[in-house]
């Protein structure tokens, strides 16, 4: 089975601040890292490869520095890595990101399965996987918590929904997003790191794609626009209720209802 894993580079911490005057995101000098949820997608893929053979490749869209996470994937045992990078892709929202990734995937050797993380720690939308699948016109299933068996033309999985779990068969080619119950990610190996030190990361740019119209990518290709970012209202609640127990009790009851903790 040949697998392609989508990985994204994210800020090393979510403890970002915003410069109140300029509105610029301050990342507090913490270096970037691989989206932690993508480690599960990698682990799952590497286990499938061990069991069923085939290959595991990774693709990431991002600036040239994102090469670092592809190198990291090599150290975990990934066979091939692709970095989709071009100024034309800057400022992409989910739609444009998924479109660019889908365009790039079409230029790669065919795979049976594309595996994504459940979500990222920065944009945090969980939407990229399903949108890639739509752009490629292949079936997808989100929140896969277990893979049971791989057959020549389909895969058997369990999908974890809020209120139920569904066992299903999905025809190849398919896209899955996996949860953290799929298996604890392995650490990058020093030995593999040495071995893959000089292994190249394949670059894909706009001119390698079928659709080379820059208007379909980046900010112009993005239906959503971030108008503004601002810090959340972190005013700490710090309230004391004293007085008669009746007063305290009704303060509590009212607050529980007001906050929809108790529904009525």
């Amino acid at each position: 089975m040949n697998i392609l894993v989508c990985i994204k580079q994210v800020p090393g911490t979510t403890e970002v601040n915003i410069d109140e005057e300029t509105g610029v995101l301050l990342r507090n000098g913490v270096p970037s890292k691989m989206n932690p949820y993508d480690l599960y997608a990698l682990e799952c893929s590497l286990r499938l490869k061990k069991h069923y053979g085939g290959s595991v490749a990774v693709i990431s869209m991002g600036p040239p520095q994102a090469e670092a996470i592809i190198k990291e994937a090599y150290m975990m045992g990934v066979d091939e890595g692709y970095l989709l990078t071009d100024m034309a892709f800057a400022g992409s929202d989910v739609y444009a990101t998924a479109y660019a990734l889908a365009q790039a995937i079409k230029t790669l050797p065919d795979v049976d399965c594309i595996i994504c993380g459940m979500m990222t720690t920065d944009g945090d939308t969980a939407q990229v996987g399903p949108e890639i699948a739509e752009h490629l016109n292949i079936p997808h299933a989100s929140y896969i918590k277990e893979i049971h068996e791989v057959h020549s033309d389909h895969i058997e999985v369990t999908m974890d929904m809020d209120k139920y779990a569904a066992e299903m068969k999905i025809k190849f080619p398919a896209l899955l997003t996996v949860t953290s119950t799929i298996g604890t990610p392995r650490l990058p190996s020093y030995i593999l790191g040495k071995k893959t030190e000089d292994k190249i990361v394949n670059r894909i740019t706009l001119k390698d794609l079928n659709d080379q119209d820059p208007d379909h990518y980046g900010i112009t290709g993005s239906p959503t626009q971030v108008i503004d970012i601002f810090p959340p209202d972190h005013t700490q609640i710090s309230t004391t209720w004293e007085g008669t127990s009746k007063e305290i009790a009704s303060n509590l009851a009212d607050d529980l209802i007001h906050r929809k903790i108790v529904m009525r």
Partner: protein, 393 residues
């Protein structure tokens, strides 16, 4: 919506031109000027260098807002009940749509869900579009997306709201991509401009920043919203809406996914997974005291947990101990009852989103951490609170 076009000029001092932007949104990349996402459309650059920068109006904009009107909600249901988030979204849709005279439609897909369609009308929906078919009993991504696509083509809503549930978060992006539009995830604030543009505010970076997002040039504007963000609407006195029943085509029902079996989840049994916890401390001494805590937990839909002394006295199951030598919990809400707040206990619950503490001792260290400090006797406060909550129902 307009965009700024750049007509590149040879031989000019690009640095100097880029300087003109008060927002530093003009950069130079490979000897060309580029406008970055920092652009606020202040148009200073156009005024200063009209030969380089020009405003390109997009004419399609008014066509879009004329063609797409109304607000649609994609309904979700489980085991014969509407999901509360669906009702909350209907309430929000009515509130947003009223000033614009927008009609509210709801799409419901399932099998034998006619009564749910009737129920939706009770919440003031104008049109319920119902696709009822055996093959649609459980969510199947391809048929469901096909149906949403047909619904959007026929009804042309300006905004589509979807619950931020595991189903919604899989379905909404697929459907939004199908109709080539934008989707804003997990919105916490939604307002609508007189022209129908939806202002969406959502948290990102694990809640450490908020983003204000618009989808100005595409319709419909898709948004997902999690449960309990908006209020449930009241039922209307007279139902005026109608149900339109549709038949899915064989083509629409085609699926490359086949569900072999469905397992309905049991209620949560571990305190780590509970959203609401009522934690009991040494002020609870007898099984009768414990019964009060259990009654309270039931009244607010929470689970009972406790400090180590309660485990030691056998009043609470060891799997429900919070703390250093117990479990670490991060519920949305925790109410501590007669707990002093030892470091070992606090280590297991300091990540709770909202903390209410009941304690007779105003100096109790738990009050240093609590958002709400209830200074008083739990045996008086809790029974009165329970009866207040029950009276309200």
């Amino acid at each position: 919506m307009a965009i700024i076009e750049i007509h590149q000029q040879q031989g000019k001092d690009l640095e100097e031109i880029a300087e003109v932007c008060p927002f530093d949104a003009i950069t130079i990349i490979e000897d060309s000027l580029v406008i970055t996402e920092a652009c606020k459309m202040c148009k200073v650059c156009i005024k200063q260098y009209p030969e380089i920068f020009s405003l390109e109006e997009e004419t399609s904009r008014s066509v879009l807002t004329d063609r797409y009107k109304g607000i649609a909600v994609i309904a979700e249901h489980h085991e014969g009940d509407l999901h509360p988030v669906t009702l909350e979204l209907i309430g929000k849709a009515r509130e947003l749509g009223a000033p614009l005279g927008y009609r509210i439609s709801v799409l419901i897909i399932g099998y034998e869900v006619g009564t749910l369609a009737e129920e939706l009308l009770e919440y003031g929906v104008d049109t319920v579009v119902l696709y009822d078919h055996k093959a649609l009993k459980d969510m199947l991504i391809e048929p469901y997306t096909n149906i949403i696509e047909e619904f959007i083509e026929e009804y042309r809503p300006s905004t589509v709201l979807v619950g931020g549930t595991s189903i919604g978060r899989s379905l909404a992006p697929r459907a939004a991509a199908r109709v080539h539009t934008g989707l804003t995830a997990d919105c916490t604030v939604l307002t609508m401009q007189p022209n129908g543009d939806l202002d969406q505010i959502r948290p990102a970076f694990g809640g450490n920043i908020m983003a204000h997002i618009r989808t100005p040039n595409h319709r419909p504007q898709f948004a997902t919203v999690r449960c309990k963000i908006f209020d449930s609407p009241k039922k209307v006195e007279v139902k005026t809406g109608q149900i339109i029943t549709k038949r899915p085509t064989v083509q629409q029902l085609k699926s490359r996914i086949e569900i072999s079996s469905i397992h309905i989840k049991k209620k949560i049994t571990s305190i780590e997974d509970a959203e609401i916890l009522v934690a009991a401390g040494r002020a609870i001494r007898t099984p009768a005291d414990m019964a009060l805590i259990e009654k309270f937990a039931e009244a607010i839909g929470g689970m009972v947990a406790g400090t180590r002394p309660l485990i030691e006295s056998g009043l609470i199951d060891p799997r429900r101990q919070i703390g250093l030598s117990g479990r670490t919990v991060k519920p949305k809400v925790i109410i501590t009852c007669g707990i002093s707040g030892s470091v070992q206990f606090v280590a297991g619950m300091k990540g709770s989103e909202l903390i209410y503490a009941i304690n007779t001792d105003p100096e109790a260290s738990i009050f240093g951490l609590a958002h709400y400090r209830l200074v008083g006797d739990l045996y008086e406060i809790i029974p009165q609170c329970i009866s207040q909550l029950q009276r309200g129902l």
